[in-house]
Symmetry: C2
């Protein structure tokens, strides 16, 4: 059923009903629902969603753990699919192309950061793929747990044809979140990189850092992951609970990417850095992390953070992954398994990313 | 009285007795004592100490607050004086020259960091001006609260002739500790710099950052320092206890130098940084500082630390200060006032650095 609704600037916009899977409250399970998508405008690309990755942010938002969730909420920002419609001004996509959408669907295009291609830091606040204000239809944005999505061309990514499509979906968040800091901090040959935490983000960091030519040491609390880390390409693996093993790279690493979102002792990792080394957080523990001043002062070390990446850099990451044949290790699920998948996610019981086969929604 | 002692490599080294002012225990006052200095060797410069600045580190070490102090302890690492003797291989100094010594008197000369001119990060551990092992006479090093010092030429600095000599002494620690990070993080025209804490380090940071061409905002808890900050050159002053004032530069500063060694809320300062901005600690609070991950992740901000500077950079700083006519604001004291000065230091009651007129030791 077509409905005409009103955009932020007062224009009339036709919308249509689309099947989705979302939640009506923080303590409710996800279930099938209907949402409305705008019909594609002149600069829009309409995408039939084929696969959508399941990010821990989906769970945090669905359950209002970061507060500010508006319901109903349809998560999902690791989206790959096929173009089913393009507006008259669209130049980079045509019907039938593969296309992808990540964590953002728009930004102001006008601030210093947007002009630099850092839309993730848009001064006005970018429009996220879900749980943001949708200026086109004056409602909330709804994510990738749905049949289709309509996104302005500038925020749609091209997908390398040689990659396994479902396993490509997690690149749109887990991939860019690790690629961006590895690139920004000049990881490459001759650089010793520590990867803390071997989950959805960590396993991508290992693959990408190796492809960049770095030496990679994985830090994990799980003896069961040692073998896995090596298979993923790690040059060495350290059990972080073992104090003796933790001494092995003291003062020797140039860069650490820390993908642990549970509370953990950041100081024991800062001590592993060489002079001018950087530890970058891509996981966000709930409570502040105590940092001993001497651990940064004595070696001019830095503790930093990084958040996804800009659109241009996301395309660069996808092209890099295409060239190096990098995808995520995934476990495919049907949409009806999403609530169970969230429970397993909480236990770290996934290698290394759930991806929803969206065919299961269409036929459900 | 001349005494022959043994160096680490087994050689015999003549030493002589020198008047100094130091402490025999963590809870004892500083008092006059005798120490031994080596006679100058072929690569050594012997310096008659004319003035010595009083750094908070002196107090921490004298009172064993950082642990590891060996007694007797003679503090002082902001040393200026006149050359009274040079070894046969010394090429850069002659008797009668002004000379200065900072926080280090030697390093391994051989590690990657020393080769890069980063002796402050010497992998073997540099030899600090006091409370380090003195390889030449197999004892402890003694600092600048003394009549004279003998230092290998490579660690002796040239002093610009145009600067007020007593007010130059604090440049050797407070000056380089602030110059080095301002330089390393590219402070210059068009850069908005926050200086947190207006004490010995902070007031030097204001002067140096201004001379580098930056816009400088001072953060202080003391309404009484607002006027002072402006006189020192600050473009703006924010009372950090005032929540409204703290909003003024939210997301607007490129760089913050944090010179507060008391516990304080680092997150409220991280929020002032723009994307890719850095907050650098040069003060070292005793307890770890809680850092909220989101405060670094959302703007790719960095929290870093910095420690003094290398010898080449220290000379560069002195030359820069000579060129821009920058010295410390000081209060001159006699050596007998040092215990009282320490008590005043604890209360922040000094504008902005005590400097000891060492003539008072010689004539004492």
């Amino acid at each position: 059923m077509e409905v005409i609704t009103s955009s932020d600037d007062g224009g009339a916009v036709r919308t249509k009903e689309v099947k989705a899977f979302g939640t009506a409250a923080a303590d409710a399970n996800l279930q099938q629902m209907s949402i409305r998508r705008r019909e594609f405008q002149v600069q829009d690309v309409e995408i039939e969603i084929l696969y959508c990755g399941v990010c821990h942010s989906d769970l945090h938002t669905a359950r209002n753990e970061w507060h500010g969730t508006k319901y109903p909420c349809v998560p999902g920002h690791e989206i790959v699919g096929k173009v089913t419609g393009v507006g008259g001004e669209v130049t980079k996509f045509k019907v039938g192309d593969l296309a992808a959408v990540g964590c953002m669907v728009d930004s102001c295009h006008d601030c210093d950061y947007c002009k630099e291609g850092l839309e993730q830091f848009c001064a006005a606040g970018n429009i996220q793929t879900y749980n943001s204000h949708d200026k086109y239809i004056g409602a909330e944005t709804y994510g990738g747990y749905s049949e289709s999505i309509v996104v302005t061309e500038d925020f749609v990514l091209r997908v390398p044809e040689n990659l396994d499509l479902p396993a490509t979906a997690p690149l749109l968040c887990a991939g860019i979140t690790t690629y961006s800091p590895l690139k920004h901090w000049n990881v490459g040959p001759g650089v010793k990189v520590g990867v803390v935490g071997l989950g959805g983000l960590g396993h991508m960091a290992v693959k990408i850092a190796k492809a960049m030519g770095a030496e990679v040491v994985v830090y994990t609390t799980s003896p069961s992951k040692v073998e896995d880390a090596r298979k993923l390409g790690a040059d060495d693996v350290v059990l972080s609970k073992d104090k003796e093993q933790m001494k092995r790279y003291k003062g020797k690493l140039h860069f650490i990417i820390d993908a642990v979102s549970a509370q953990h002792d950041i100081n024991s990792y800062l001590k592993l850095l060489r002079v001018d080394g950087s530890l970058v957080l891509v996981g966000a523990p709930e409570h502040p992390l105590p940092v001993a001043a001497f651990n940064v002062i004595t070696h001019r070390r830095t503790l930093a953070g990084s958040s996804i990446g800009g659109i241009k850099e996301t395309q660069e990451m996808l092209d890099f992954c295409g060239k190096h044949n990098i995808v995520s290790d995934i476990e495919m699920i049907d949409i009806n398994q999403i609530n169970e998948a969230y429970e397993r996610l909480l236990k770290g019981d996934v290698k290394y990313r759930f991806v929803i086969d969206m065919q299961s929604l269409k036929s459900g």
